[in-house]
């Protein structure tokens, strides 16, 4: 057991957790932030992507203890004053989601893409999202949503 101190979605949190607690487990089970989803056990699906110190990360690939002191943003922290982030708005407008399970990871990953590349091409978007699997949408409307968000961010 060890103490995990993080700033999650702008709030300081401190919790005792076993040393082998994955960040994804810490968020879901210790902080009840269940918007971050677990879709596989091999770090392939990307449903668990969050931002750690501003960069996207599959939260199943890091131990919570290893990122002690970091700033974490999850899907729950993307709204400001109850208003959805332009990426969330674009996904809604262009039907970039169906069952919603891969969506939190997909949105967090896409937000990071636009932080790093303000006007990505279709190919760049598809390449970037290679680490996020969606079984419902065929990706087309996700790509369209990311392009739409790029015009609003």
């Amino acid at each position: 057991m060890g103490k995990i101190s993080l700033e999650v979605n702008g709030r300081k949190v401190e919790k005792e957790a076993p040393d082998n607690t994955l960040l994804s487990t810490f968020l879901r089970e210790h902080l009840q932030l269940t918007g971050t989803h677990i879709g596989c056990d091999t770090s392939q699906c990307g449903a668990c992507v969050v931002h750690v110190d501003g960069n996207s990360l599959k939260s199943c690939t890091a131990l919570a203890a290893d990122i002690n002191g970091s700033k974490v943003t999850t899907i729950e922290g993307l709204e400001t004053n109850g208003k959805m982030h332009p990426m969330q708005e674009a996904f809604k407008k262009l039907h970039g989601l169906q069952c919603g399970f891969c969506t939190p990871g997909m949105v967090m990953s896409a937000v990071d893409l636009l932080q790093k590349n303000k006007k990505p091409s279709d190919t760049e978007i598809r390449d970037w999202l290679e680490g996020n699997i969606c079984r419902c949408t065929g990706y087309q409307n996700i790509v369209a949503a990311v392009k739409e968000a790029a015009t609003k961010m």
């Binding site: 076993p18 729950e76 996904f91 039907h95 169906q98 069952c99 419902c136 990706y139 087309q140």
Partner: protein
């Protein structure tokens, strides 16, 4: 008021999904819950000699360990096949018992033998490692084609044969083939797939000792049906003491139709230990134990005249059921497959023969399209081959054999009410610039690449399943749907549907329908589903039935509301009910300015009586309240259809297949929400293209799954697809009041043959099996080079 049906209404469900507020089963935690881990067979086929749980019981945190013996002692029933199929010789199908925890034998890798319940997940995992199972390993049967020659898996089931089923007339087919100028034949493997909904299966079972009620939260496409099966066949609890809740469900694609072992075991065990139990599948468990799809081996032949008229068709298929026959396991390769085997063509004589076999692999059941992709793949590969062998353009050959009039009495079973297949073909050709293909082929050739074009024309029988039709086929279960429309006294509406959304957008599209029918703003309409305690028994979502069956039940319930509203308005306004018209939410007495809004009528129905008028607004014979129910049993299936065209470019140096263009032109009848329909088409296409180019579930000869993770099973990614080119033609279904047909499965049905026809076209007609991986295609390119060199 503008009609919402047909509009691009943004989804009501999206905000919660986009802000992390979705509530999936794995998100549910109950006070004092325990955690379950299943001990699973590592062998494909073995008998269980002994299970020793002594060490595991001493492991920290263990609450209980239960095995097949306890579940048998408690007389808990097993998993079932939902549809009875009769063999050609009149004998009934043969199904083995499938206990929720195996007691004597295990029959596939992942078959559960025990459940370990502990205070924490880590403790349950640790204890599960200490359960000692002594197996006598037996020779596994894994090959679909050879299953009938393998060792007998289930005692008393000879040749591992569940049934040997025939649809059609062998004698007529023989006569047709005798008259043929040419017979085109093909051997096909329809590769096994794993549905891979992104949310792994999960369940949380709770027992309330005071009310003696079990509540099961589970990842189901059909909670009412699950409850029925668990109660009637599983003997878990009587239905009124069992509540099944399927909250937000992260995709299904057929894999979440079944009641699974874990649902039954956790529900039963929760009562036994009087504590809540949570189980969440790891992805590897999903790979091993979710139902799989497809897995057919087929030989088919088409008899043709020299000018390309189809005369006869035969289809001999071996369908792999896996280790056990599950809910849709037996109907998928028969009634969902056979009647669609002749495709969109007039073929005077046809038969389909299916031998369904057991193997030591995961159960095979309904996966998106279920039977219809297998049927379409066979006929469309065969027709494409016929076009090559006859030297007739692939689109012309198809058009030549399309039905010329509707209703179209299809060869084997269906009467297709509506369609215009020629219009669909012409529009698809235009969208795909079919004429310009040869020029593009030359451009590719100039770059040293091989380019191919492939076509598929398909139809599918959706809106499963009209009772009268399925009863006449002898398969016993009709699948209607229910809806209940409830007005609140203050005018908002709650619609309860027996259907279930796990991505399909019911909350929005069903609300659009109700809004139009009732003239109530969409924001005042809630759609409720997924909880057996809320709303009437219903059949759930699969087989593109939500709208074509469930949607119509909503329409019918709304119409009953309007009828009552007319009677109440007439009484309130002292008019004849026949003189009251309903439009845009208002009941208007014709030829007068007297009217009542539907909100006023609802209020009057619940709070009857106007103080000074000293009379009730309720007509004699009408009860208070405004709530109506409909059980809708369709008169026929619905029949979406269309033509898809794909273009691929192959690099002969690497064998890489690039899907350059994909055009889909579908006829789904009336469209409720074009945005949602587009999404359904895209998703279906991705799964169909996945089957053609990437996905394959493979077992080795000992029955180990070689593709048991996302490292080994290729899930299509964003960079695997071009932008899809999508369009529609529209003929309204004549068998339901909305004119709708269904759209969820079309892409998965049409895409595999479309893409493979293009690949094989590029390879000069050489057969390649799905998935057309770089390795297979590279080898075919080498052969092509050799044969070209010889020709030169």
């Amino acid at each position: 008021m503008a009609s919402l049906v047909g509009s691009r209404v943004e989804r009501k469900e999206d905000k919660r999904f986009l802000t992390g507020k979705g509530r999936y089963t794995a998100d549910i935690n109950l006070v004092n819950q325990t955690y379950a881990i299943f001990v699973r067979s590592p062998h494909a086929r073995a008998s269980i000699k002994k299970i020793n749980i002594d060490k595991a019981l001493k492991s920290p945190g263990v609450v209980s360990i239960l095995t097949g013996k306890e579940i048998a002692d408690d007389k808990i029933g097993g998993l079932i096949a939902g549809w009875a199929i009769r063999s050609e010789d009149g004998t009934e199908m043969k199904c083995p018992g499938n206990p929720p925890l195996a007691k004597d034998n295990v029959n596939f890798v992942g078959d559960p033998v025990a459940v370990v319940i502990a205070e924490s997940l880590a403790e349950a995992k640790e204890a599960a490692e200490k359960v000692e199972v002594d197996y006598k390993v037996l020779k596994a049967v894994t090959s679909t084609a050879d299953a009938m020659n393998g060792d007998t898996i289930h005692e008393g089931i000879d040749k591992n044969l569940c049934f040997d089923w025939l649809l059609g007339d062998r004698q007529k087919v023989k006569e047709a083939f005798d008259k043929a100028d040419k017979v085109i034949s093909i051997d096909i493997i329809n590769n096994r797939l794993i549905p891979n909904a992104m949310e792994p299966r999960a369940c949380v079972a709770d027992y309330n000792a005071a009310s003696e009620e079990i509540t099961l939260y589970t990842t189901s496409q059909n909670p009412h049906l699950s409850r029925l099966i668990m109660s009637a066949f599983g003997n878990v609890a009587p239905e009124h003491k069992l509540r099944v809740v399927a909250p937000d469900v992260g995709g299904g694609f057929g894999s979440k139709i079944n009641v699974y072992n874990e649902d039954i075991v956790c529900s039963w065990a929760a009562k036994k230990i009087n504590r809540a139990i949570k189980w969440v599948a790891e992805r590897s468990e999903s790979f091993l134990t979710d139902i799989h799809g497809r897995d057919h081996v087929t030989h088919a032949e088409l008899a043709v005249t020299k000018d390309g008229k189809f005369l006869g068709f035969k289809n001999e298929t071996i369908a792999n059921l896996g280790a056990y026959a599950r809910v849709f396991g037996t109907v998928t390769p028969t009634y969902l497959f056979g009647p669609c085997a002749t495709g969109v063509y007039e073929i005077p004589a046809a038969y389909t023969n299916v031998k369904a076999v057991y193997t030591n692999t995961a159960p095979v059941d309904a996966y998106r399209g279920a039977g219809r992709p297998e049927a379409t793949y066979t006929i469309e590969r065969l027709v494409e081959k016929a076009s090559m062998e006859l030297g007739i353009d692939k689109t012309e050959l198809r058009i030549k054999n399309f039905p010329t009039a509707f209703p179209f009495k299809q060869t084997l079973v269906h009467t297709v009410d509506s369609g215009d297949y020629v219009a669909g073909m012409e529009k698809a050709k235009q969208m795909a610039d079919y004429k310009g293909f040869e020029a593009r082929r030359k451009e590719s050739e100039a770059k040293g690449k091989l380019r191919g074009i492939g076509v598929t024309s398909y139809f599918e029988a959706c809106g499963i399943a009209p009772s009268a039709a399925v009863m006449s086929l002898g398969c016993g279960v009709g699948l209607w749907e229910s809806a209940e429309v409830r007005f609140n006294p203050t005018g908002q509406v709650t619609v309860y549907t027996g259907s279930h959304s796990h991505g399909q957008s019911h909350q929005t599209t069903f609300a659009q329908i109700a809004a139009d029918e009732l003239g109530v703003p969409i924001e005042n309409i809630d759609i409720v589903h997924g909880d057996t305690d809320k709303g009437t028994f219903g059949m759930g979502t699969y087989g593109s039935r939500s709208l074509a069956v469930g949607g119509i039940a909503i329409v019918n319930a709304c119409k009953k509301i309007v009828e009552k509203g007319k009677r109440v308005t007439a009484k309130m306004l002292e008019a004849n009910p026949e003189d009251v018209e309903f439009k845009d939410g208002e009941f208007i007495v014709s030829k007068s300015n007297k009217k009542k809004t539907i909100g006023e009528v609802a209020f009057a129905c619940y709070l009857p009586g106007v103080r000074d008028e000293m009379k009730s607004p309720l007509p004699e014979g009408d009860e208070p309240g405004l709530k109506e129910t409909s059980f809708y049993d369709p008169s026929n299936f619905s029949f979406p259809a269309g033509t898809h065209i794909a273009e691929v470019e192959i690099d002969p140096e690497t064998g890489h297949v690039k899907l350059e263009k994909y055009t889909a032109c579908d006829d789904f009848g009336r469209i409720i929400n074009p945005m949602v329909v587009e999404g359904q088409v895209h998703g279906g296409l991705a799964q169909g293209i996945g089957q053609a180019l990437y996905e394959n579930a493979e077992y080795d000869e000992t029955g180990q799954l070689m593709t048991g993770s996302y490292m080994d099973y290729t899930m299509p990614r964003a960079d695997n697809f071009p932008e899809f080119n999508i369009g529609y033609t529209c003929t309204h279904a004549t068998t339901n009041p909305l004119g709708v047909k269904g759209c969820g499965e079309a892409g998965a049905i049409a895409a595999p043959p479309t893409v493979m026809n293009a690949v094989i076209d590029a390879l000069g007609g050489q057969e390649v099996t799905m998935p057309a991986t770089a390795e297979k295609v590279w080898k075919a390119c080498k052969n092509l080079k050799k044969s070209n060199a010889k020709a030169a």
